[in-house]
Symmetry: C2
Amino acid sequence: MGIRSVERAMNVLHELNLQPINTIAQLHARTRLPKPTLVRILKTLEEAGYVENDTRQGGYQVTALVTSLSSGFHKGPMVVEAGRAWAIALTRKHKWPVAIALPDYDGMIVRFSTVPDSPISPFHSTVNRRLGMLTRALGLAYIAFLDREAFDLTMGILRKSQDPEDALSHHPTEADRLMTQIREAGYATRSSLVEPRNSNTIAVPIIAKGGNVLATIGLTYFKSAFSSDQQAIDRFSPLLKSAASAISEDLERLSSKLAIEESGLRPNHVQDLRTSDC
Amino acid sequence: MGIRSVERAMNVLHELNLQPINTIAQLHARTRLPKPTLVRILKTLEEAGYVENDTRQGGYQVTALVTSLSSGFHKGPMVVEAGRAWAIALTRKHKWPVAIALPDYDGMIVRFSTVPDSPISPFHSTVNRRLGMLTRALGLAYIAFLDREAFDLTMGILRKSQDPEDALSHHPTEADRLMTQIREAGYATRSSLVEPRNSNTIAVPIIAKGGNVLATIGLTYFKSAFSSDQQAIDRFSPLLKSAASAISEDLERLSSKLAIEESGLRPNHVQDLRTSDC
DNA sequence: CCAGGGCGTTCCGCCCGCCGAAACGGACGG
DNA sequence: CCGTCCGTTTCGGCGGGCGGAACGCCCTGG
């Protein structure tokens, strides 16, 4: 019941963010919009400066200006802010995309992803995507490092779920065995029962000074790029662990130097003055 | 010549990002759109999940989902990434908005701003806004810390400018005196000749290990909140200096652990595989 | 208690601007 | 040289966006 053209344009802009470069044909396939409609929407976004049509690369991509469509939102937890730079640095160095996820009730939500930074990434950016707790690397790396009480609580919630992604919650001994294994190894990988099969993710917990798991950070790679999963694990799990502990240290420094309360603050209503910072 | 409703909606979304909370009346005043049109656009964005209508606070605001409209773009230089967390932490603690700016030829461009995080901020967010080099705190804190060669080069460019913001470049002795003063103090403030008059900004350079100025970070406050500018300077300049050096250290750690090249990487064309990271 | 103003929101008929099938033209590749 | 697959342009028809007017609400002040 909204404005159709606006809904469509927002979808297109959203889709444009999922891949570094987008052809009309791809967008047509994904959005099911007629090509002339796509061209018209893209032209509009281009005139507004949010999109550019790079003919050399043969496709459309978002420009730096899109950041101004979300510059008003950074109430994210500090762990994501502190982790961003490390995620980006990891991707620049090792090419594979890195994601940071936060717990959300009975699942995890991806809050940052370097997919567009990754020149070899065939993956979609998954910011704001929800992931299962018991099948995804980013979920397992979280739940396995919860303390007993929080773990039992979450498992209790998951047992009520009918989602096949949460099936493991109905097999306590199997689950416990997996959790122990993850805790000992210090990292988790995605369940092999779950799509996509041609890639894998290695994830580790980001643990605060006090011992609480705050978030998880994970790296995704194409299986075909390595002779075995073990090879990728040997290579990346130490890097992720050291990044995770560095993030935790950064958080410590940020809060000790400035004494932040971790909970986001509520913005208050302010009057409209037409001035600017500089 | 684009789709009018889409152009309007993008403008509205952009405006929504400039303030933590937006009433219809404010948006009407800023966009000059009829109120029914605004309501229709906002309803559309709300249905799509990008905006919420917080009736308690009596206004519209962007939601976390807007990040997915720019998640495809993160080519930001590492110094901005490293500085984000510090800017946010400063604002959470001291309430005033903090901005990070990068040099761009003969001016500075704001690349990050915590205006929407600041509950007392009556300022507009200025991400992507261009600032003069010789009047703005964020510009002065940069140019004053350039080495001789780069300084002369930039001043040469500025002398060709007719912009009143660059007028100081035509008065070398005055300029030199100001530069010396800034270098000694370690911070810069906005020229009193320039709008807005009811606020001021204190900015310091972010200097890399090698001695190069990479960027500047500045805090803006309402003059009426302090008994004198000196009081604000005494309070904030040490904080900014310590944040700037912490950012520089973070950069060092990021690059030494991972050996990053500072220049952004160019994303390559990749084939369309329908998979995802997790 | 009511008048007045400002607010966000709803209504509804007019009309214009969006829509998309069809056509175009250029780039491959066989 | 023709077939195919692109991205892009054209253009007429019509449906959906538009905004003035009106509504209901909450203030404030008389």
